[in-house]
């Protein structure tokens, strides 16, 4: 990734973070789109696993600052998702939208699983409902939004061929 590509990627990630804190509360869905996970996954396929883990840790810590009771849980989950996504990028990030959508789905669902387990806020039936119903639904929404963003941002994210 050259310098121009890095700048464009940073702009896109910044846009995704802004969307996470504007569009997501504006929609107010019960199974919301997680733009931070999309940002981490998009970044993870462009950087090394260690950097992806560090990037996920930073974003997760920022998220944790708004949730003092679960401080550290999101950082842990984001680090895991970023590292894993970067490690598996050769498998998933082919030029296939459906595969990318599945990648987003797995990333969001894995993030929710780690977050729910580490946070220990839910237990019993609530945890099962969250992990088997709401988290997959949120993962589906995130995957769809990720596919749309990939289609829209592909000219920006792909390195120039010139």
């Amino acid at each position: 990734m050259n310098g121009l590509g890095a700048v464009r990627a940073v702009i896109v990630f910044g846009l995704l973070i802004v969307l996470h804190y504007t569009l997501r509360p504006l929609l107010g869905w019960r199974a919301p789109i997680d733009f931070l996970v999309i940002a981490v996954l998009l970044a993870a396929v462009r950087i090394r696993p260690g950097s992806a883990a560090l990037f996920g840790f930073a974003l997760g810590l920022a998220t944790d600052s708004l949730n003092a009771s679960g401080f550290g849980a999101s950082a842990l989950a984001m680090s895991v998702v970023g590292f894993a996504a970067s490690w598996m990028k050769a498998i998933f990030f082919a030029d296939n939208l459906a595969l990318n959508g599945f990648f987003f789905f797995l990333g969001k669902w894995g993030y929710d699983i780690v977050l729910t387990i580490v946070e220990q806020r839910l237990s019993g039936g609530d945890m099962v409902t969250q992990l088997l119903l709401w988290s997959p639904l949120a993962a589906v929404n995130t995957a769809l939004a990720g596919i749309v963003l990939l289609i829209l941002l592909r000219p920006v994210l792909e390195p120039s061929r010139a």
């Binding site: 802004v18 509360p25 504006l26 260690g50 708004l66 003092a68 679960g70 550290g72 950082a75 842990l76």
Partner: protein, 414 residues
């Protein structure tokens, strides 16, 4: 090459492990340490994002509240539209209740159902029938006056003719009983088709515009005294020996919703004072109040005059007391002379200055407009005076039927 890859992988693993350890440490931090770190992040790096999130939340709340407000506004507007209808219906039902209280007995409340087809605007279906005691030719009345009469009766419902029906011809008279005639529908087009005519009035019996016309009781169907309408003016006809008057009906057709059907016994017993008692009562109360105020004013004047006379007497007798027999007690002050009541009783209306003893010229005993009996003991609360002043009884003038200023009788001539 392989070594660099291996070093890179090792560095990634170390970074990942470091992140995991830091996250676990952050998770395990005690609250007193964790909260300052979170607060520092919120106040620095995350502050712009928090502002964005707050703006989005407010926008969403405003959007949701806008929808709620729109729904509330629509609901309020809908209710406001219904309020006027409910108020008028409430007033109507109150009037009907008052009429029922005045009638006392021998009536059946009914809903009048208007037909929608042509020719049915002069008939209504009533929601009561012979099961409720309704009989053919029973009078149908409303708080304002006469509505019609029952034409056909079924067990559960009945059909009534309104005053606009060609076959509806009750005998009528002026409220003072000076003129008699027959009610006919006014054969006209447009809004004037809802007017009615009083035909066959003797030529020497003129009725003033605005006079009330009531049922006369002749014929035995309708009891005397039910208001029919108000005179709008005289109609010029080819009949030279009788007069015809155009009347505005007391009950407009659209208001015929809730009515009362009088039983035959009630119609036979009469409905005198049912439609006129409130007006007479209010007039009598107003006159009594005026009489009370006059008595109070006279008493006050008499008291002041007595005080003044006592003061003058005291001045006149003071030198005599100084020079004469001082042991003699001062003469008692003479009783104050109260002004004698004027020969003509005071009234609040110059038109009512005539003594009320003489009844109207041709007041029929069954006329609906009757002079209310003078109160036996008007509530006089005069202040104490040296000599009790005679109380002037309030004068009750003959009740004049309310005159409603009629609109100009446009198109009154046929």
């Amino acid at each position: 090459m392989a070594r660099s890859v291996r070093d890179g992988s090792r560095r990634d693993t170390l970074l990942f492990a470091l992140c995991i350890i830091l996250a676990i440490v952050a998770r395990a931090l005690p609250e007193r340490i964790r909260d300052p770190i979170a607060a520092a992040l919120r106040q620095t790096l995350v502050a712009p994002l928090m502002n964005l999130q707050g703006s989005a939340e407010r926008t969403r709340s405003a959007w949701l509240s806008y929808e709620g407000l729109t729904i509330s506004r629509d609901s309020i507007a809908l209710r406001a539209m219904q309020v006027q209808t409910l108020e008028s219906e409430n007033d109507r039902l109150r009037q009907l209740l008052a009429l029922g209280a005045r009638l006392g007995w021998g009536f059946t409340a009914a809903e009048a159902l208007h037909g929608q087809s042509i020719g049915e605007e002069t008939t209504v279906a009533l929601s009561v029938g012979s099961d409720a005691g309704v009989r053919r030719y029973s009078p149908v009345v409303a708080p304002e006056g006469l509505v019609g009469m029952v034409q056909s009766v079924d067990p559960g419902m009945s059909v009534a003719l309104l005053w606009g029906h060609p076959q509806f011809r009750p005998s009528a008279m002026s409220a003072d009983g000076s003129a008699f005639g027959i009610i006919y529908p006014h054969a006209s087009e447009g809004a004037e088709r809802f007017l009615i005519e009083l035909r066959g009035v003797q030529f020497r019996s003129a009725i003033d515009t605005g006079s009330l016309v009531v049922t006369s009781g002749l014929g035995g169907v309708f009891p005397p005294g039910i208001p029919i309408g108000t005179v709008l003016g005289e109609i010029k006809t080819t009949e030279l020996w009788a007069r015809t008057y155009l009347l505005r009906p007391a009950v407009p057709p659209p208001d015929v919703r809730s009515v009362m059907v009088l039983s035959q016994q009630r119609a036979t017993a009469g409905v005198q004072r049912v439609w006129t008692i409130p007006r007479a009562d209010s007039a009598a109360r107003a006159i009594v109040r005026a009489g009370d105020s006059l008595v109070r004013r006279d008493a006050a004047i008499a008291s002041a005059a007595a005080a003044k006379a006592a003061a003058l007497d005291a001045q006149a007798t003071a030198p005599q007391q100084v020079t004469g027999a001082g042991a003699t007690p001062p003469a008692a002050a003479p009783a104050p002379v109260r002004r004698t009541a004027p020969t003509t009783p005071r009234t609040t209306d110059s038109a009512a200055a005539v003594p009320p003893v003489a009844p109207p010229r041709s007041l029929r005993p069954d006329s609906v407009v009757q002079t209310p009996p003078p109160p036996a003991s008007p509530p006089v609360t005069a202040p104490p005076v040296p000599t009790p002043a005679p109380v002037i009884p309030p004068v009750i003038p003959p009740v004049i039927p309310p005159v409603v200023p009629p609109p100009p009788p446009t198109g009154a001539s046929r």
